[in-house]
Symmetry: C3
Subunit: 359 residues, 3 copies
Amino acid sequence: QSSVTMWGIVDVNVQHFKAEGNGSVNAIGNGSLSTSQLGFRGSEDLGGGLRANFWLEGSINPDNGTGRTTNLNNQPSGTGTAPAGTQGFLFDRRAYVGLSSNYGELRLGHDFVPTHYNSISFDPFNANGVARAGNFTFSGSSNGSLSTTITASNSVGYLLPTNLGGVYGQVMYAAGENQSSVANPDDGTLFSGRLGWTNGKFDVAAAASHTLFAKTATIGSFTHQNVGASYNFGFAKLFALYNRVNVDVLAGSVRKQSWELGATIPAGPGPGRVRVTYANLNDVSGSKLLNANGSARSGNDANMWGLGYVYDLSKRTALYATYASISNKGGATYAVSGGPAPIAAGTSTGIEAGVRTSF
Amino acid sequence: QSSVTMWGIVDVNVQHFKAEGNGSVNAIGNGSLSTSQLGFRGSEDLGGGLRANFWLEGSINPDNGTGRTTNLNNQPSGTGTAPAGTQGFLFDRRAYVGLSSNYGELRLGHDFVPTHYNSISFDPFNANGVARAGNFTFSGSSNGSLSTTITASNSVGYLLPTNLGGVYGQVMYAAGENQSSVANPDDGTLFSGRLGWTNGKFDVAAAASHTLFAKTATIGSFTHQNVGASYNFGFAKLFALYNRVNVDVLAGSVRKQSWELGATIPAGPGPGRVRVTYANLNDVSGSKLLNANGSARSGNDANMWGLGYVYDLSKRTALYATYASISNKGGATYAVSGGPAPIAAGTSTGIEAGVRTSF
Amino acid sequence: QSSVTMWGIVDVNVQHFKAEGNGSVNAIGNGSLSTSQLGFRGSEDLGGGLRANFWLEGSINPDNGTGRTTNLNNQPSGTGTAPAGTQGFLFDRRAYVGLSSNYGELRLGHDFVPTHYNSISFDPFNANGVARAGNFTFSGSSNGSLSTTITASNSVGYLLPTNLGGVYGQVMYAAGENQSSVANPDDGTLFSGRLGWTNGKFDVAAAASHTLFAKTATIGSFTHQNVGASYNFGFAKLFALYNRVNVDVLAGSVRKQSWELGATIPAGPGPGRVRVTYANLNDVSGSKLLNANGSARSGNDANMWGLGYVYDLSKRTALYATYASISNKGGATYAVSGGPAPIAAGTSTGIEAGVRTSF
């Protein structure tokens, strides 16, 4: 009667962070090689190539047992913070039902936005841990919560079929679900798309997401564009990723451009690989956008380098260790994932070592 | 070692609502053919016809990934609202352990109240979606939260055995769990029962629930009575349901009487069925119960009609579409499920189309 | 692909409590024979005796469908209360990943503190229900929330291998995860260890936990030490447990010493056992620690006796009933688990009868 696949990942590590001007932290963190998660999925053959699919996937924090929040309406008002220690498990990653055939796949529900797939695929750290490229792109950097950076609720998605000679792609629409009688009824409406091509060794994709928000001092329509590529030379796999993030606030356009170059290199005593990354963030915000001390926001640049090693104990289980360091300039306070923010123009570093198993 | 059955339903749809005087909403909703859910249940044979049973079943909202709330003590104080986007998955539908034998079944825990089974069985829309009969009976209509309309916590239930020649029935007691030293220690105490008979084609049942609450301006002892019947003619299945809801508040008795007639008619290109319903609500509240503008509450009547189609892609998966329209009178502001409330005496309409799969 | 074991326990009962001076309560409770829970665990053979293990286990309250809270940082600030009826399911009991071999087991995540294993093993009521020894040791008794009494987050644990001729033991470190720049960066840091020996019939273990907290009026560094033993004579199994709890607050040391003697005695019509316990609490707090009325806290003594019966319907399913009574002295207000607190020097009693099944 039941044709469901349950799966999960439990990834916990030991971490040490330094935030210039703000001390250090010892922590037990999680999800730095792969996001800790629990999920249920299935697919039913309806005949004639048609399938019904469902997917329910939520994050877990095994260092303390909690789940993670989602966003109800793709707007800052759609998410809050539960009282400490009370956040239950929910399906914050993916929750959808859909149909698929030779003509592609339709999904209805909560899903990753197309641009996020580039953030995962073209980062040697797969968007997880202290050295992720997302340290520069996931952060709203004090210009409003960018609700639709990773996932969107109330979405309709279409994915191209998998038989197009390596061409892949998808589009997504997501509703803000505001009553038409409110002030800004289009807030939280998202349009997103992605198109890529791979031949197995070479992989390239471009994506863009646009979410509507009425312009305020801290938020406004949000555009995220990225293009990435990877090439597997065998002795190493190289990654490149370029991101543009724009937020149109009242004082002008917050604009962040970042690029990352990285590699994974099979190496070491056994089935392991070195991971290395260098990323640069160039803030090109409008000249009227100022830091609290009056300096131009466009000076808030930063760069990051990261180095790690993954040792596969099996297909499912691995040990890993990663180090990353971010150097900020101007008023920038970017921090490695999980670490506290440094003072303006300060350095943020993090080191972590952990175990990841999956089932 | 493990003898558990896991099951679930994922049902997501595209919706458009109009609420006269209050604009419209485009939304991605869920659970309009079948409530989206995830559950775990099992039954152990203890010998001699005795079985131990457990059931854990919770709602999910796959359009955004959240779960739904429950009520701890069958009183308004027993439920709240989690910060947006933080509601974790929990077992808000059913969570019980029990024993069953040829003499019936005992259940201890959280369960549906007996009257709710009539709301499901004798509505062609099975108490889900824009056209459900519950649009008139589940709503407290500004006269207090009716905590025990659907489920009750802290319950002891007994169900008749299934070998009584078509006779079925159940009784439930649920505790409010108040300390005897508080002002109204019986608040939240529920008594409920249901008795029915079916021969396969014909099905009829009557039920009543009574929950104790001390009388205030907005709440008081709550009685829900309903009787329903269905007959399957083959070419169509007809449904009839009558509900009486009474709430004894300080100013008098809020009294709502509603009836519904409906049908499901196998039809169409393939394994599908038309669903149609007409419902009428007559408010017969005491003459001292007034609307905000001074008019009598007893004029707050309404009627609804609904039309839908379900197309079965398989036993587990279906496509569906439904339209419903509610016309209010007097101060009534009833709305189709999921839609915003119209102004007094306004019209509420909703249309939805979706996919439901189960596992 | 999936090698996970899912398991659970559903235990619900009918309860009646009396709290001298504060009335009585009728309730439907849960988890009084075994904590109601749902879990997912697995173990992967990595070759050479090495295994990767994961464990995800959370409490459930089947009487109302909710989950239970955890603590994020082993400090009072790390846990709160969700709005009524909204507490989702999460992994508040255990959530870890680890490796094991002939040299022992490493665990990273959220886990029971070593002292808690003595609370379970050497109590004939296994730390559950109205007659548990924990009525005296789990309670902070108005001297601060003792966040690390049962579980700790952000932990690294090591367990001795199971091939040491009956010797067993474990150590745990848990991080408070405070930034070094805050006032008391070591708050919430836990050190704990346990060492025991068993030959099957005889079992003895000692454990100690120490958690750092800066001294305030209501909290300070917390030490819990316990030693327990059990002997299975066949016709009865005897249990003894001694606990010392110290909390160093500004006015001095809150010190509670308690001992318990108990037994389980196979008896009755069928596969059942009587459970009996007597426990005594001696408060030996510093002389400057006073009750609200000015009397010395060191007079806040109490004793408890409990009697119960468990009838096994199968290996997985049991019926049970338990009675317990606590007599308080001085300003003590200890209550049986789940019951309301009596007035100072008052009596607390509880009786419960329920069903427990597991899968």
